[in-house]
Amino acid sequence: MTELYPFTPSGPSRRSTLRAAGGGTLLLGLGLAGCRSAVSEASSEPQGASAAPKRGGVLNIAVNSDFTPALLFSQSGQSLQHRLIYNTLTRYDDRLSPKPELARSWTYAKDGRSITLRLRDDVTFHSGRRFTADDVIFAVKNLQNPVRAAQLRATAATVTGFEKRGDHELVLKLTHPVNNLFDLFEFMIIADSETVEDAVTGKKLIGTGPFRLTKWSPGSGLSLTRNDAYWQAGRPYLDGVELRVIPQADALISSLRSGQSQLSFNVPGKSLGVVKSDPHLTISDYDTGGGAVYLGVNTTVAPLNDRTVRQALAWAVDRDRLLAQTLGGYGLASAAPWPKSSPAFTEAHRTHYSHDPAKARELLKSAGHSKLELPLLHLALPGDTAIAESLQYDLKQVGVHVTLQPTDLATGQKKLISQDMPALWTMGHGFAQVQPSTLAVSAYPFNEAKNTSKYRSAAYTKVVREAWTKPESGTAEANAQHEKISSILLDEAFLIDLVVRGQVQVAADGLHGVTLNKFSYLNLDNAYLV
């Protein structure tokens, strides 16, 4: 069993980190070393396999769903290829400290209302065109376009002015300071402006990344080949990458066990037991918190408009049992959305609600209810159905009788975005793995201005706005803001977090150097096959 979440959330303030980075002391190689790696990689690395990286080979990755070109600029279920074809301006290390990528260095203005980016001048797109500041301007404006449905559009929208200082220096001017600008830089892929409309239909994906798109076969997967003109000398090691769509979990596992695929992030938690017994496969956990499981509550449906009833539901759920029985034990039972690497994480918040059916019954009684009947929507997938059944049983023990409403993924997502959920639903959410304010301004279930629970509160909006517009993080003031957000989320319980889950990687023991960014973009710059 691999170790879960060993990192502590403490770290230097972002301002000091930015200054250090702005001084240009961070070399690219160091940046790569700081790139997000599997939490347990050290422990899962096979003995004697630390030989020098080897050039060549094609990596086959098994994915359970196909790439959706229309969602290229938003976070979707399958974003592995983003960092293979494209680059981002910066990337976070394990402590949310930004490291250079296409931006060599940067300087924040003292008032937090502008940032000067110094860009790499040795980068070309796959088409041969040189990368310049105009491409960054395009990338920001592209995310501001509502058609792109980018979750970080609110942050992109704060950039209202662009000042070019030559081809490779750019000043971004903000309407107000925000503390999640580097979330945007981690999230925002730099796409070729001349072919972007072809990109969102899947015809041409042209970026500056380590691999070029050879072919996209809808329903089958993507074929990528090495970008020989990649700006990082000698990288990538691999000749190519194949992303093969294998929707059935059993077939996907068989593909890994037979050696047809060497990497996957889509083995269901319930099936990891089978993988564990295979000596040629290793399991690693990423502390990206990209898939927290939650119970959503529609606060406009009586009696869920009563906070006491919502809190009763939060006390009724046995999170530890849910984690063990439906997710194979991979994750962290938590009442709050934050993974351990988040600045907002505290043990007190994580354990704010424990499994206490007696207390749940008492709260329901105090609210005047002894028996409730409510619908619960869930995705009609095996793992999601098991989670829904587990919740149904726990809620039944306190007198809340739940009727399950299975639905397909597309309908579920549509209902989530259009705020058309029934009384209860269960799904997964991301965005808690970056700056805490990003969760509350960008994720559909938490968005202070418009969330799926239809929860409105001036206090929530005020706290979120304050947290979002304070440029410092890691300070006592920032921590106090995070505390306030967590308190509102826990007390109001319009969204009841259950398990914080990272990405679980299953890899062949001959594969090394695989990393993910905070938004689950796969980085294979340093990956090689032995």
């Binding site: 059993d250 037991g273 089978v274 439906t326 098991a386």
Partner: protein, 295 residues
């Protein structure tokens, strides 16, 4: 295994068959059911049905009661068949799953049979109606069972009613075409002409003379349809469009066991053995009846 096609090819039973049975003093079906093949089938089906009926007495736990004891092995104290991923007792889930399956097919198959026979009677009444009914049957037969299931659940959502509806819809053409064929053959027979000459009304001739002679293959078809119904329910639950969880059905339990085939094979064993016994038993009975009719 007996198929609907075999039965259609066999055509209606010769009048002599019944006469032979009466001469011997035994009803032909009773004779068919006394064969070793049929007896084996009856024992298998009887055992499964009995287990389902006695589920509240035999099951030591509620079928939806969860516990922290996940994937317990075969023979675990208190859980003879073990437990599933959510710690539910597998014996209880299989027993109550039998009840759920029997409840569904006991409604769905007769419903399909009645509707199919009504269509056949309408078809027999007038050539135009016959053409319309035949096209309706063609339409229903054009949809493979699972496509029909997915279409119905896309409209109605998953649940018990859509499963019953899908099974009934799938069975309508089988019963309808079988009875229509029987009626067409019988009404050309001399005894029908004699009845008409004797002054019987068309309705009386159909109900009193033709139907009893054309209906024999329907008995066999019921046994076949029960087998098909078990498969349809199982397939729908397996695909997640059957009865809503957490209610157990044999197909649903089997579907839930799939990720654990290597880890906990006992998870799949219970529903697998039960479905096999039920389908095998019904097939043997259908085969025995069919052989008797074709003699």
């Amino acid at each position: 295994m007996t198929s609907t096609t075999d039965l259609l090819a066999a055509g209606p039973p010769p009048a002599a068959s019944k006469a032979r049975g009466r001469v011997r003093g035994r009803h032909p079906y009773r004779s068919a059911l006394s064969t070793a093949r049929a007896r084996t089938g009856l024992v298998l089906v009887g055992a499964v049905v009995l287990a389902g009926l006695l589920a509240p007495l035999l099951a030591g736990h509620g079928p939806t009661d969860q516990s922290g004891q996940s994937l317990a092995a075969l023979g675990t104290p208190g859980h003879p068949l073990g437990t599933d991923d959510l710690g539910r007792d597998l014996l209880s889930r299989v027993l109550y799953g039998i009840r759920a399956d029997l409840g569904i097919i006991a409604i769905a198959v007769p419903l399909g049979a009645v509707l199919g026979c009504l269509f056949a009677l309408v078809a027999a009444a007038h050539p135009v109606a016959d053409t319309v009914v035949q096209r309706v049957f063609d339409l229903l037969l054009a949809f493979p069972g699972l496509i029909l299931a997915l279409a119905v659940t896309a409209i109605l959502g998953p649940g018990r009613v859509p499963v019953v509806l899908v099974i009934a819809l799938a069975e309508i053409p089988a019963f309808g075409r079988l009875l229509r064929g029987g009626i067409l053959v019988q009404r050309e027979r001399e005894y029908v002409t004699a009845a008409r000459v004797g002054g019987s009304s068309g309705r009386r001739v159909l109900v009193r003379h033709i139907l009893p002679n054309a209906a024999d293959p329907l008995i066999v078809q019921i046994a076949v349809s029960l087998t098909v119904a078990v498969f349809i329910e199982g397939a729908m639950s397996f695909l997640g469009v059957g009865v809503r969880p957490p209610e157990p059905t044999l197909g649903a339990v089997l579907s839930q066991s799939m990720p654990y085939l290597a880890q906990a094979p006992n998870f799949a064993a219970g529903p697998l053995v039960t479905v096999t016994a039920l389908v095998l038993g019904l097939s043997l009975i259908a085969e025995a009846l069919n052989r008797e009719i074709r003699r």
